[in-house]
Amino acid sequence: MTEARDIDILHYCRSQTVRQLMLMVRSPSEVVNPLLFFLLVIVLFPLGLGPDPEQLSVLAPGILWVVALLSNLMICMRLFVDDLEDGSLEQLAMARVPLSIAVLPQLLASWLASGLLLSVVSPLFGLMLGLPLNVAPVLIASLLMGTAIMLLLGAVGAALTVGVQRGGILLALLILPLYVPILIAGTRALNEALQGGDPSIALALLGAGVTGGLVLAPLAIAAGLRVSLEL
C-alpha cells in the first residue's frame, strides 16, 4: 500500500504539464486566438484615437495593459470548461494529489501558452504604439509577472463560474475589480521606465503578487472547483 500512497507529486506535475501542452499544440487556435485578439484590439486604438505617435506613446502603457487584461480574461473563460465537459475535472478532484496542487500544471501550461508568449511578443506591439525599444525589458518583465497573477486570480473566478450557464460575462464581473492593483502596478512600472524613473518598486510589488497568489490562489481555486463539481 505504501507505494500507492507515495505519489511523486513532481512527476505527476511534469506529466500533467506535458499533457496540457500537448492538448494545446493539437488545437493551436486556442493559443493563437488570444494573441490575435490582443493584436486586433491594439489596432483599434490608433483607429479610434488618431495616428499621432506622440499621443499614442503616452497612452501606450495603459492600452497595452488593458488589452493584456482583456485577452487574459478570454483565456480564463475557457480554463476549466473542457475539463468539466469531458469529466477529467472530476477525476482530478478524486485523485490522491491534492486538488490545489493538481490544478497547477494546467495553470502553468496555460500561462506558458498565453502569458509567456504574449510578454515575449509585446515589444512588437509596443513599437506599433510608439513605445521606445529601451523600455522593452520592463514591459516584458511586468507582463510576465502580471499575466501570472491575472491567470491565478482569473482561475479562481473560472473555478467558481465553470458550472454556470453563460458564465463568461459573469466571470468578467467577478474578477475585473480584482485586477485593479495589477493594472496600476503594471502601468506604473512602464510609466516610470518611460520617464526615466525607477520601475523596480512596481516590479517588486508585482513579484510579491505572484508569490502571494501562488500560495493563496490554488486553495481558492480548489475550493471553487469543488463547489462547481458539487462534491
Binding site: 467558481l160 463560474t161 459573469l170 475589480p177 475550493a223
Partner: protein
C-alpha cells in the same frame, strides 16, 4: 457560552430573536434617523468654506463607513458558512449583500452630488471614490454569482469563497488605488474637509454613523426573516409561529 453560539445557528431561534428585536429597533432607528438628520441639517453650524453644501456629509460619510463594514459582515458570514457549514450563515450572507450594495450606491451618489458644488465636477477620479466604485462592483459580483446558480446551497458556498477572496484583496486594492492617485494627483482639487472637524459638527455625524449601523442591522433582520420565511415555508415551527 457555546449554547449561546449554537443558538445563532438555529433558524427558529433566530426568527424569534428577530421578531423580538425588530419592534424595539425599528422605532429607535426611525427616531434616531429623524433626530440626526434634523440636527445635522438644521442645527449644526454652517461650514465657513463650503457653506451649507457640506451638510450632505451626514448621509455620505455614514453610508460609506457602513458600506465597507457591510462587506466584512458578509465575508465573516461566508467564512462561518464555509468552515462550520452553518446554513443560517448562508442566509445572513445573502441578506447582507444587497444592503451593502445599496449603502455603497448611496455613498457614491451623495459623493457625486457633494462633488458638484465643492469640486466643480460630478465625478472626479479621486482615490476614495474609485475604491468605493470597486467595492460596489465586488458587491454586485457576489449578488450576480448567487443569482447565477440554480442550487442555492451551492450558490452560497461559491459566494462565500468569492467574498473571502475579495476580503484578501480589499486592502491591496485600497493601497494600490491610493498609490495610483498620488501619481495622478490633480492640483485643482482642494480637500477642504480634511481639517479637524469641530465638535458641534462631529457629534451629529457620530450619531448618524451609529444610526446607519442600526439601520443596517434592522434591514438585515428584516431581510433574514423574509429569506427564512421562504426557505422554511413547509416547516412546522414556522407555520406554528405564523398562525400563533
Amino acid at each position: 457560552m457555546w449554547r449561546i453560539v449554537h443558538q445563532f445557528g438555529s433558524p427558529p431561534w433566530v426568527y424569534r430573536f428577530c421578531d423580538r428585536v425588530i419592534p424595539w429597533l425599528l422605532p429607535i432607528t426611525v427616531v434616531a434617523l429623524l433626530t440626526g438628520s434634523i440636527w445635522g441639517l438644521l442645527f449644526a453650524p454652517t461650514d465657513y468654506k463650503q457653506g451649507d453644501s457640506y451638510r450632505i456629509i451626514y448621509i455620505h460619510v455614514p453610508a460609506a463607513v457602513v458600506a465597507l463594514a457591510g462587506y466584512y459582515v458578509m465575508a465573516l458570514a461566508g467564512l462561518v458558512s464555509l468552515v462550520w457549514r452553518v446554513k443560517l450563515a448562508d442566509t445572513a450572507m445573502r441578506a447582507a449583500a444587497p444592503i451593502g450594495a445599496a449603502y455603497t450606491a448611496i455613498a457614491l451618489i451623495t459623493g457625486a452630488i457633494w462633488g458638484k458644488p465643492t469640486w466643480g465636477a460630478w465625478w472626479v477620479w479621486d482615490a476614495r471614490i474609485t475604491s468605493m466604485l470597486i467595492l460596489f462592483f465586488l458587491y454586485v459580483g457576489v449578488i450576480a454569482l448567487f443569482e447565477a446558480y440554480e442550487n442555492k446551497t451551492v450558490a452560497a458556498r461559491a459566494c462565500a469563497i468569492l467574498s473571502l477572496v475579495g476580503t484578501v484583496n480589499i486592502p491591496i486594492i485600497y493601497k494600490s488605488v491610493d498609490w495610483w492617485y498620488s501619481l495622478h494627483q490633480p492640483a485643482s482639487i482642494k480637500f477642504t474637509g480634511s481639517s479637524a472637524i469641530d465638535a458641534s459638527m462631529l457629534y451629529p455625524l457620530l450619531g448618524m454613523i451609529i444610526t446607519f449601523y442600526a439601520l443596517f442591522a434592522l434591514l438585515m433582520m428584516l431581510n433574514l426573516k423574509q429569506s427564512l420565511t421562504e426557505e422554511y415555508a413547509q416547516s412546522a415551527w414556522l407555520n406554528k409561529r405564523l398562525t400563533a
